[in-house]
């Protein structure tokens, strides 16, 4: 899972906003519900699911420049529906939001875009694939070969992505449970992108290469009422294995993870198998956020320290959160991305 839902609260009526993260635990009403056992179909499921309340196309990348400097990149398109239907023109209840960021060891550039659906300003088409908002786009003949662009007032990027492995379904065939009470979402990833392209930063253009991870998720009521925030990890180890894991912080914490072998073989891991403990907290934007973690998955012999590359990777967007690249040391080495929400 990734718990990037929070930014979506912004687009919900104020009642949800006032409830904070618990807003995502409110009843789904007339919206469609994720169903276990429902087979995902591609490329159709790369496109939007307007009957569900929320959905996202979420890409993060770890990259290096010619001098070995590490960089992180984020490109996200959120869809939020005021009502479970589609429509053309201003009347559509479908709203869109984009977040883009580039993280360097000493800087974090952020941009945000908002748009109404129905008029062509933002949207997603499954085949040939195109996800866009304003001048930002993720586009290609299919999901295996993409061009990714975004720009803000002080940065821009234009990179190409090529998949070197299969899609990965989380949970049971893409049905990912989020709480003991059974809240769930449809969730799959493409964690095997190779990336090359150019970042435009205040100091000039920087050619970069690296890896990227795309998350696709949609739901209508993804959280339980008591869940207040989450810590989400996507880790790529040097040996080619990958780990997605999250902790949903509630009355009792709920964890879930997926072990992804180098060949794409995915193994879902139940509540409690994955553990993440904060080691160091860092003051950013007036809050204390854990930016160094001890992450363990005893079943696979993983016991690593996950450290933020830039602890100030704060997303100062309509609803703020922390999102940035991390480095991995300990039983395994590697890089990855960390997202933390609900640190008010």
């Amino acid at each position: 899972m990734n718990a990037k839902v929070l930014a979506f609260l912004l687009l919900f009526p104020v009642a949800a906003l006032a409830q904070g993260f618990a807003g995502l635990g409110t009843s789904a009403g007339d919206f469609a519900q994720p169903v276990p056992g429902k087979a995902l179909r591609f490329p159709a499921d790369h496109g939007p699911h307007p009957d569900f309340r929320i959905e996202w196309w979420y890409l993060t990348a770890n990259m290096t420049g010619p001098d070995g400097t590490p960089y992180g990149l984020q490109w996200t398109l959120f869809r939020s529906a005021l009502a479970p239907r589609d429509g053309a023109g201003w009347d559509t209840p479908q709203l869109w939001m984009g977040h883009a960021a580039v993280t360097t060891p000493d800087a974090h550039h952020v941009a945000e875009r908002l748009a109404r659906g129905g008029i062509g300003q933002a949207g997603v088409r499954a085949d040939p694939f195109l996800a866009w908002i304003d001048d930002w786009a993720m586009e290609g003949p299919d999901l295996d070969s993409l061009r990714l662009t975004a720009s803000g007032t002080d940065f821009a990027y234009d990179v190409r992505l090529r998949a070197s492995g299969p899609l990965v379904l989380h949970g049971q065939g893409g049905y990912s449970v989020k709480s003991a009470a059974g809240q769930a979402s449809h969730y799959y990833s493409q964690p095997f992108f190779r990336l090359s392209g150019t970042l435009t930063l205040p100091g000039g253009a920087v050619p970069v290469t690296g890896t990227a991870w795309l998350d696709r998720e949609w739901s209508s009521q993804p959280l339980a009422g008591d869940q207040r925030g989450w810590d989400w990890f996507s880790l790529s180890f040097d040996d080619g294995n990958k780990l997605m894991g999250f902790v949903l912080r509630g009355a009792t914490d709920y964890t879930a993870a997926t072990w992804i072998a180098a060949d794409g073989q995915a193994t879902p891991l139940a509540d409690g198998a994955f553990a993440a403990t904060p080691l160091v907290r860092h003051g950013v934007a007036g809050r204390q956020v854990p930016t160094t973690w001890q992450v363990s998955l005893p079943a696979r012999g993983v016991d690593v320290t996950v450290t933020a590359m830039n602890p100030d990777a704060w997303m100062q967007t309509s609803v703020p959160y922390w999102e940035g690249p991390v480095t991995i040391t300990g039983s395994h080495g590697g890089t990855g991305y960390l997202e933390m929400t609900g640190y008010d």
């Binding site: 300003q121 001048d135 002080d154």
Partner: protein, 800 residues
């Protein structure tokens, strides 16, 4: 002890209810006029602010279609996808209400009533049936749209804000956008505007101070009026308090003899006055609200017509008025009472009540000296003073000095008349009139100030009208003016005009700072239109020939005053034109009323040499007035000129004149109100004097003058005094007008209004003054005519 003092103090008002009434009504009227004018000003300013905030015109650049007209919605999407951070706006009228459709997700946060950050219900705004935000009075006029109505006092008057989707449906303009707001933060790179859509043009932010600068002049005039009205009211209050304290001197002496401490006595009297001031202040603010509500529609119409400023015709009650109204009432009372309290505090315990006659004459002497001093200060300030503050100080010195000088001058005039009178009744009449001047002096001063204020303000408003209309005649000498969007359109306009107009006067211009101030530099074609119509304030000989030969330039009055460039001085155009040696002498200076920036006018050829890249921004077209409409139609159809880009001289003039009629309505209403206040002061003074005068009238009655005759003489006396006061007020009023036009206006706005005289207006004002005095004197005279003879006889029975 305190209770005893209070009850003694209160007993005075119980025995003199009329005095209490005078005090309260005088103060209430003064506060009413002051707070009414302030309310009008505040309401107008709030409206400008709301308009700027609703439209975002002041702060944001905009993209519009060249030649006006709608922008298709897909162009908006194309711009967004090309990296332009723009937000669409659609506008139109739905019956009496202007509808503005905004897109809340892309609009600048504070422009939309339900911006994502504001915590409002975005879902309800976007989803059917939608929401409409407007002021309460606007919502009342809005047709039923099916949408939820939400009261929003911050939205501009007469305007309703809603989602763009709903607005397009209500206005029946699906897929159409009128303009795009360009947001402050734009991404690193975006495709050029012309590449995305060639039919668009980027307009720089207008700067929200323009409108308020233009309207400042109008508001300054109103403020001056309000201040003068308040001064008139203060004279009444001063009179009433002075009289009350005078009559309470024996009581104060008795109280002190009985052991009341002086401090507590003075403190209690101050508290008493403060309570009265608060009561009167509250009545005054409420009355001011009525005055403002009555006048605001006219003021709103004036501002709308004159400057295009949309002002709500409805009053909203703001708490700050209550506070400022009460504060000014308290301050006014404090000023009016300080002298009386001071003299009470210094009153010798055993001295008592009778040393006042002597004091009176001594006070007269002091008053004359003060008047002379103040008038001298005013004269010095008028000649030497600099700055707005000095201007206002000069006004204050002039008015107070003039008012203080009134009683001595009146006494002098009446003494002269008395010497010339031969018949005994006439001699008695003049002597008795002179004897009454001290008692009436405060009321007469109030009348004089009212009359002077009216003369001053009428002169200013009328001068403004004459100047402005004359200015329009000069500056809009051509029958039709056309604003040009781009060079291609300029060619098209020239082609149409060549066939259908008698003369074409192109106006190329650039906006560049000159001599450190923002300015517009224009090229002018040598044509009889300018030679015949432009009147220059100052000029060298053969100015037009020399201008045509490129030997120099004309500048507007603002540049002459602010940059200090007199005839013959060099205008540094080097920086503006990119040619370092370009300096041109000033050949002439012209009036340019209401324009906030400087202007430099060059011959067309010289302008093109200095600014080869400048485009023609405007054409003046000469054509027979009867064919203006036909030419407009051709320009619209053949050259694609938007209707709003053409200014028709006749239409502008008609509109301006209509506006001035509105201004006069407001001025006339304020005239009548101030004179009514002064009339009230006279009435109160006469009523107070009536009782005291009986001992003086009784002997004359006993000598054979009937009560009717006496009453008629009293009425005549009031008229004579009013006429003399009015005659003396005229020069004071003209001095006031001169100060407003030649000092305050220049200091505040950089241009001087020429002063014109309007004898008929003054005559009318004089008649109004006499009327006010006559009405005020009528009742006391009638009461005198009905005085029972027994009462008159009683005078002889009592021992004095």
């Amino acid at each position: 002890m305190t209770g005893a003092i209070l009850s003694a103090l209160a007993s005075h008002w119980r025995r003199n209810p009329l005095q209490l009434l005078t005090l309260l009504v005088g103060l209430a009227l003064a506060t009413a006029l002051w707070s009414g004018v302030q309310a009008i000003n505040a309401e107008a300013r709030a409206s400008y602010g709301a308009a700027a905030a609703t439209l975002g015109e002041g702060r944001f650049a905009q993209i519009t279609a060249k030649g006006g007209g709608a922008i298709p919605q897909h162009i908006y999407v194309a711009l967004r996808r090309a990296g332009w951070m723009v937000s669409p706006v659609v506008e139109g009228r739905l019956g009496p209400v202007r509808i503005i459709g905004l897109e809340p997700l892309t609009a600048p946060g504070d422009l939309v009533p339900v911006s994502p950050a504001s915590g409002a219900d975005l879902g309800a705004f976007l989803s059917a049936p939608g929401q409409v935000f407007a002021r309460k009075e606007t919502l009342a006029r809005l047709h039923d749209t099916g949408a939820q109505r939400i009261v929003a006092p911050n939205v501009a008057p007469g305007t309703a804000v809603t989602d763009i989707g709903l607005a397009q449906r209500l206005l029946d303009r699906p897929g159409q956008i009128d303009r795009l707001i360009v947001l402050a933060g734009q991404p690193l790179s975006r495709r050029p505007l012309a590449e995305v859509s060639p039919g668009l043009t980027l307009v720089s932010p207008r700067g929200d101070s323009d409108l308020s600068r233009l309207t400042d002049s109008f508001h300054l005039n109103l403020t001056a009026f309000g201040l003068l009205s308040f001064a008139v009211g203060l004279f009444i209050v001063h009179g009433a308090i002075g009289l009350a304290f005078e009559q309470r001197r024996p009581m104060v002496r008795t109280l002190r003899a009985l052991g009341a401490p002086l401090r507590r006595l003075v403190a209690l009297m101050a508290v008493e006055l403060a309570v009265l001031a608060l009561v009167a202040g509250m009545i005054g603010v409420a009355l001011g609200y009525v005055v403002a509500a009555a006048l605001l529609p006219d003021v709103a119409a004036t501002l709308r017509g004159l400057y295009g400023a949309e002002v709500s015709g409805q009053m909203t009650f703001r708490p700050v008025w209550w506070l400022s109204g009460l504060a000014i009432a308290l301050a006014g009372t404090a000023v009016a009472a300080s002298g009386a309290l001071w003299s009470l505090a210094r009153m010798p315990l055993l001295g008592g009540a009778h040393a006042r006659a002597l004091g009176m004459s001594r006070r007269q002497g002091r008053q004359s000296a003060a008047a002379g001093l103040l008038l001298a200060v005013a004269a010095v300030l008028a000649i030497r003073g600099q700055g707005l503050l000095a201007g206002f100080a000069m006004l204050a010195a002039l008015l107070i000095g003039g008012a203080l000088a009134l009683p001595p001058v009146l006494a002098l005039l009446l003494a002269g008349a008395e010497r010339r009178a031969r018949a005994p009744v006439a001699q008695w009449f003049w002597a008795d009139t002179r004897q009454q001047v001290p008692g009436l002096s405060l009321a007469l001063m109030a009348l004089m100030l009212a009359m002077a204020a009216n003369v001053g303000v009428s002169t200013m408003v009328s001068s403004f009208r004459l100047t402005f209309v004359g200015f329009l005649d000069q500056r809009l000498a051509a029958e039709l003016y056309v604003r040009v969007e781009d060079p291609a359109q300029a060619d098209a306009i020239a082609a149409v005009a060549a066939r259908h107009a008698d003369a074409i006067l192109p106006r190329p211009s650039v906006d560049r700072p000159v001599a450190g101030m923002p300015a517009q530099i224009m090229g002018l074609r040598d044509h009889a239109t300018y030679r015949d119509n432009w009147r220059l304030l100052r000029a060298v000989p053969d100015v037009w020939d020399r201008l045509a030969r490129g030997e120099g330039a004309l500048i507007n009055e603002q540049m002459y005053r602010r940059a200090g460039l007199d005839l013959g001085a060099g205008i540094p155009l080097g920086q503006a034109s990119g040619r370092p040696d370009a300096t041109l002498p000033v050949l002439g200076i012209y009036g340019d009323y209401g324009n906030p920036v400087g202007q430099v006018v060059l011959a067309e050829g010289l302008f093109r040499d200095l600014f080869p890249d400048a485009a023609v921004q405007q054409f003046g077209l000469r054509v027979d007035p009867g064919r203006v409409q036909a030419l407009r139609d051709r320009l619209r159809t053949e050259a694609g000129v938007a209707e709003g880009a053409m200014i028709d001289q006749a239409a502008v003039k008609a509109a301006s004149l209509a506006i001035f009629e509105r201004t006069f309505t407001v001025t006339a209403a304020l005239n009548v109100l101030t004179l009514a206040v002064a009339g009230f002061a006279i009435l109160m003074s006469l009523l107070t004097l009536a009782a005291m005068r009986l001992p003086q009238l009784a002997p004359v009655w006993a000598l054979g003058l009937t009560r009717r005759r006496l009453a008629a003489l009293d009425l005549l006396r009031a008229l004579v005094l009013a006429a003399l006061t009015g005659a003396l007020a005229l020069p004071l009023g003209l001095a006031l007008a001169w100060a407003l036009l030649a000092i305050v206006n220049v200091e505040a706005f950089g241009w001087r209004l020429p002063m014109y005289l309007f004898p008929l207006d003054y005559l009318r004002l004089g008649m109004l003054t006499l009327l006010a005095a006559a009405i005020a004197a009528l009742w006391p005279a009638w009461r005198l005519s009905r005085t029972p003879p027994a009462q008159l006889l009683g005078v002889f029975r009592h021992e004095r």
